[in-house]
Amino acid sequence: MKKVFLLISLIGIMMVSCNEQFDIPEFIEPTYNGTPANVSIYDIQQLHKLSGVVDSINDDLVFDCIVVGNDKSGNIFKKIYVQDETGGYDIALDKSYTFNDFPIGQRLFITCQGMVIGDYGGLPQLGCYYINEQGQEDIGRIPNIYIDKFLHKDGFPMDNIEPTLISSAADLTNDKLNTLVRFDNITFNDGGRKQFAPEGEATTGGCINRIFVSNAGNITLRTSTYADFAKDTIPMGTGSIIGILTKYNSTWQFILRSIDDLKGFSTITPSGDGSKNNPYNITSAIINSDGREGWVKGYIVGTATGYPDNITGIWTSPFMTKNIILLADSPNETSLSNCYRVQLPAGNIQDELNLSDHPENYKKMVLVYGTMTNYYGGAGMRSTNNYEYDE
């Protein structure tokens, strides 16, 4: 018996610990120590003379930029957008999930020696050299193995990059291509009625175009069916939009980085089925302006005046016109695009509902019944023949 214990203790001495503890790498701030920046993006773009031709960069040119667009939402595929004060570039990378390595706000030093410049549809591009199927020199995505050779991170990513404001058509200049811009007070033509990029719609390159109206004219929003917001409904109303300005030949285009790039739009979901117990709300009524009849409910927020196609909303008393009231989902609505124009035909309806004679109805919730179609240049109700206040 004693021998057993002796043996056990002998062995015990020789046991080796097997719990390997690994050092947890800390969050390291990347630093770049190579050739300092010696050119700007504008300078690089000047090296590219002819459209359709590919130019190699043979000198040790380095520029300093910030990442403003990547593939985090799935809308952008295998590329990142970078910009400096002089312009922007889209850099094609043969890598998925680039947002993990190149987050928005990441400062990069791009050492261009060995890269090539080209263009696609009038858009400048940076990439790598390859021979395409037609045997021509072409610009291709930077293979994964070379990405670290050209793109160098410096510092932790920065927050809050200020986009450039585009306030008129004159602001749409080529130096803003591939950079982060902002439009205010835009409305989508398909607001509330279509999704950004549903599968099944005719697409070119897996993307779908939607038009929005801005103070710089009509701009094409281009969204990929792979975006995580592709099946979201385009918002109604007016708001601001931030994103990457691009171009295809002579058409200005715009790419969202994520759904959060849309700010200030109506966020009310459509509801109701047109019955008196469950009337359409305004958001839904605007969507369903196809000539059907039904009950619609909303707050009385004002009247309107002016030509049918270009009316002006009147939101405070005195409420001058009598043949129209404006309903909205929010009692404080002052944006015309979020309002439903209700015709008040001469007779009881007009006498009892008009705001001019009854300013006390202002901001009251009312249900109206009629034909849902267009009126006064927007979604609205004609032949209103019944109403009821919602107490």
Partner: protein, 904 residues
């Protein structure tokens, strides 16, 4: 353990008329005159009838007439033979008056070769089917079985081409096969080989009488404390193989005067790195046996277990081995700081406790009952990722072949050779990416998860043996097992991240507006999990098995025959602990119970018509229930059962010619087996769709035929030659039906016919031979030299490539070559392996020092593909079989092991 044995025979002075019964007696002792107790003695030519030595080492055989015989003495599976003649007999009427010393020196070479390393379970990730090497060492040392156990295991040879669920492995009569897949895990007693040397095994001419039979063989390990001789051993082995250091220590008291016996063992195996880079191995084994004898009864208690943590390697495509110029490249590791960190660590601890009661009712009948429990955990870590690029360095898009541009492909190859962060996992980058997402309050992009199995299995077995008469032995037994396993995964390491969201990432992409569809657990949607939390899947498999069996053995002078049968029941069901979003109705809760009643008959006959030459024939017909593992198509997410689930039908028979002379032992066997209605299940992780793809094949029929040859020839006293060889033809004889499904629904389910009729069953080499010389000299020098050759090695195939869908759009006239390339079965080249060993035994007073050196694969052959499998993905668009080529695993180059042990 290998001592000289002196046998003293009592000589008879006078003998009376033959009316009196004749008895052959003897006493077995060692060189210090210490008797051997409980040692098995039998006639060399008839293993069905035997006696055991008593507490004084004495035995008496009463069924023989005075003549010349060769007796076998079996001590812990080592067999010593000695010849006796009629002078050794005495008559019951007379008394023993004189003793003549008859000294017989053991002439069997001492096996100082420590074969423990061959019993290492080789862990290979990604192998479909059974990974365990059968470690059945034949206790009667039939030359062919010895070659299978000690040589062919290097080549992952499967005896007769069948998987290990056809073997019954028992300890003290208790069946150890785990009911989920009906396989026993030899790693549960790894490094405790010294305590598991007492083996009884069914052979071609001797069926098992301690357990229900099974086609692949039955083995029983006797671990009762009294079965060990008094004494102990300490040993240390150093090697460059999978385990680099090994220490063993054990001690047994033997059966003491007070009827008590104790035995204990401890072992440790450790090494920071084995033959393959970054495969740390730490394993600690323990064993305790207690026994108390009360007259005719004995009560035994055993407890043993092995705690192990080890890093794994994985099979890779040939391109990877070519660009690294290293057939042992391991893709699972990378540097973290200055340390090598392996992402695939397997940890397990599955101890076993058993209690055995034996009752020697009388000299003709015996009852043994064992009740035991095996329980524990088995978990393997693995990388997982979300919205991030694949962290595995050998993902096909990170290889040179992905690039059409030659210069880029070349640069990738150069990067592989020079940059360890390209060639292996870049852990640092995983942490940096996770830190970034944590800064944004988002979930980790990369994690290490543990895929876990927790289980316990209760087993009861009872076995009654009776010698009904002079020629008949009857055995009858009952085995009952109950298995309960819990399968789940947990977060092992968040790698710098703060949480992980428990949803299915790709289902999320397909159903972005239907949140329910991408939930792994609808009862806990969108759960944020951290280290230690369960997520992903969580289900139980419960199973019962009961088997009533019997065997009747009849032995006569020239003929032995037996007949036996069993009837058994299998019952299993699944319990889901998570309600999967895509299978809300059939994932949570208890499934239907699957019941199968099966049975079998086996019989055999051995005839001896010429002295020491036998002919033997065996036949088995049985039906076998499917295991829970093959029945459920995707048990992680639902309780769907494969469509054509049924019991298998097996019919096997073999015919052997055996000779057993003192100098020549040989056997040649022809076997044939028909297996009908097999079901097979395999699962692989699809890197691009981030989901498991489950494949179940049913209605599989195979036919296995072959020849086995084994011979051991003593050339001169100290030198013998041996050979073991087999040539087989194991093929599929049906076109199975495959049901393929992806767990996140990204790929549509398909059910297809697989055109593999006449394909070879990829269960190891179908041609193998090993021959060599064994040297054992009275100066206690031992040596062995062996040459082995393996061929007819077919790699495991992708069933999807042998379907109509795979060649849809191709025509036999125009695309014949392409169709052949896609559908034919692939074979790897045959290989030679040379092994040698040398050893010396020193006797120092009361100790015996054993030194031996073993060298495997002397010629450093690094071209031996022991395992290959086609990836379970096929490029349906362009029919390019090279897009996802086969993965291979190579046998190690030259390995050595140097062993020092002290026995006392």
């Amino acid at each position: 353990m290998r001592n000289k044995i002196f046998i003293f025979l009592l000589l008879l002075i006078s003998c009376y008329a033959s009316m009196a019964q004749w008895i052959l007696s003897g006493r077995v002792v060692d060189e210090q005159a210490v008797p051997y107790q409980q040692v098995k003695i039998y006639l060399s030519t008839d293993t069905t009838r035997y006696v055991f030595t008593n507490d004084n080492g004495e035995f008496h055989i009463n069924w023989l007439q005075p003549n010349s015989y060769i007796l076998s003495i079996e001590i812990q599976s080592e067999i010593e033979t000695f010849s006796v003649n009629s002078k050794a007999f005495h008559n019951t009427d007379s008394s023993i008056t004189d003793i003549e010393n008859f000294v017989v020196i053991s002439n069997k070479p001492e096996t100082t070769i420590d074969n423990d390393f061959l019993m290492e379970e080789v862990d290979i990730e990604g192998l479909t089917g059974n990974q365990n090497i059968s470690e059945m060492l034949n206790s009667t040392k039939d030359p062919y079985e010895e070659v299978v156990a000690y040589k062919f295991s290097t080549a992952f040879f499967k005896r007769r081409g069948i998987a290990s669920n056809y073997q019954n492995v028992c300890i003290n009569g208790m069946r150890m096969n785990k009911l989920d897949a009906n396989q026993a895990s030899f790693y549960q007693w790894g490094a405790l080989n010294d305590m598991f040397k007492n083996q009884t095994e069914a052979t071609v001419y001797q069926p098992a009488d301690f357990s229900a039979s099974n086609i692949g063989g039955v083995i029983n390990y006797n671990v009762k404390a009294s079965s060990y001789r008094k004494g102990g051993k300490v040993g240390y082995t150093i090697s460059n193989s999978t385990v680099t250091n090994r220490i063993v220590a054990n001690y047994a008291t033997g059966l003491m005067k007070n009827g008590l016996a104790v035995a204990a063992a401890l072992a440790a195996r450790f090494g920071r790195e084995g033959y393959i880079e970054a495969t740390p191995y730490y394993s600690y084994s323990y064993f305790l046996a207690l026994e108390k004898r009360f007259g005719k009864h004995s009560l035994s208690l055993n407890g043993f277990g092995v705690w192990t943590s080890r890093g794994l390697s994985s099979a890779c495509v040939q391109e990877v081995y070519d660009i690294t110029n290293d057939p042992f490249y391991n893709p699972n590791w990378g540097y973290q700081g200055s340390k090598k960190r392996n992402s695939k660590i397997r940890k397990f601890h599955e101890p076993v406790i058993l209690a055995t009661h034996t009752w020697t009712i009388n000299e003709k009948s015996y009852l043994e009952t064992t009740f035991g429990v095996q329980f524990g955990f088995n978990r393997t870590s693995s990388l997982n990722w979300y919205n991030a690029c694949n962290p595995r360095p050998d993902y096909y898009r990170y290889l040179p072949s992905y690039h059409q541009e030659a210069s880029t492909a070349n640069d990738v190859a150069i990067a592989w050779q020079n940059d360890v962060n390209t060639r292996q996992i870049n852990w640092d980058r995983l942490y940096q990416v996770n830190h970034l997402s944590a800064e944004n309050g988002e979930q980790a992009r990369y994690i290490l998860e543990n895929r876990c199995i927790d289980y316990h299995q209760l087993s009861l077995s009872t076995n009654y043996k009776n010698e009904l008469g002079e020629h008949t032995r009857l055995s009858i037994g009952l085995q009952i097992q109950r298995y309960h396993g819990n399968y789940y995964k947990t977060i092992n390491d968040l790698l710098g991240g703060t949480y992980w969201l428990d949803i299915d990432q790709f289902a999320e992409q397909d159903y972005p507006d239907n949140e329910n569809m991408y939930q792994n657990d609808l009862n806990n949607p969108n759960r944020k999990v951290v280290e230690g939390d369960r997520f992903g899947y969580d289900y139980n498999i419960n199973s019962w098995y009961e088997n009533l069996w019997t065997l009747a053995n009849f032995s006569y002078n020239h003929i032995n025959f037996y007949i036996g049968g069993n009837i058994n029941g299998s019952h299993f069901w699944r319990i889901g602990n998570m309600k999967n979003g895509r299978y809300a109705d059939n994932s949570y809760g208890k499934s239907a119970v699957n019941n199968f009643i099966n049975g079998g008959i086996h019989a055999g006959i051995t005839g001896k018509f010429i002295y020491n030459q036998f002919i033997n024939f065996n036949i088995t017909a049985q039906t076998l229930a499917p295991s829970a593992k093959v029945a459920y198509i995707s048990p992680r997410i639902n309780d769907k059962i494969v469509n054509h689930l049924k019991s298998e039908k097996n019919l096997v028979f073999d015919l052997s010619y055996i000779i057993k002379y003192r100098r020549v032992k040989a056997r040649i066997t022809g076997y044939c087996g028909f297996y009908k209605d097999l079901t097979k299940m395999s699962s692989f992780f699809h890197d691009d769709y981030k989901t498991y793809v489950d494949q179940t094949l049913s209605d599989i029929n195979t036919r296995h035929i072959g020849i086995e040859l084994g011979a051991d020839v003593k050339i001169i006293n100290c030198l013998s030659a041996f050979v073991g060889a087999t040539y087989a033809d194991h093929r599929y004889t049906s076109r199975p039906i495959a049901y393929i499904t992806s767990e996140n629904g990204t790929i549509d389910d398909v059910e297809e016919t697989i055109y593999i009729k006449n394909f070879y069953v990829p269960n190891g080499p179908q041609a193998a031979v090993s021959f060599g010389l064994k040297f054992s000299h009275e100066t206690m020098w031992f040596a062995e030299f062996a040459c082995s050759y393996y061929d007819k090695i077919y790699i495991d195939f992708n069933p999807e490539r042998r379907t109509s869908l795979a060649i849809a759009g191709l025509s036999m006239e125009n695309d014949y070559d392409l169709i052949t390339t896609i559908t034919k079965q692939n074979r790897v080249k045959g290989q030679f392996i040379l092994d040698a060993s040398v050893g010396k035994l020193f006797y120092l007073k009361k100790f015996r020092l054993n030194l031996n050196l073993k060298i495997n694969n002397i010629l450093n052959n690094k071209k031996f593909i022991t395992n290959g499998y086609e990836q379970l993905r096929f490029d349906f668009d362009e029919y390019d079989v090279n897009k996802h080529p086969a993965k291979y695993y190579y046998a190690y180059g030259t390995t050595f092991s140097l062993n020092v042990s002290l026995t006392f």
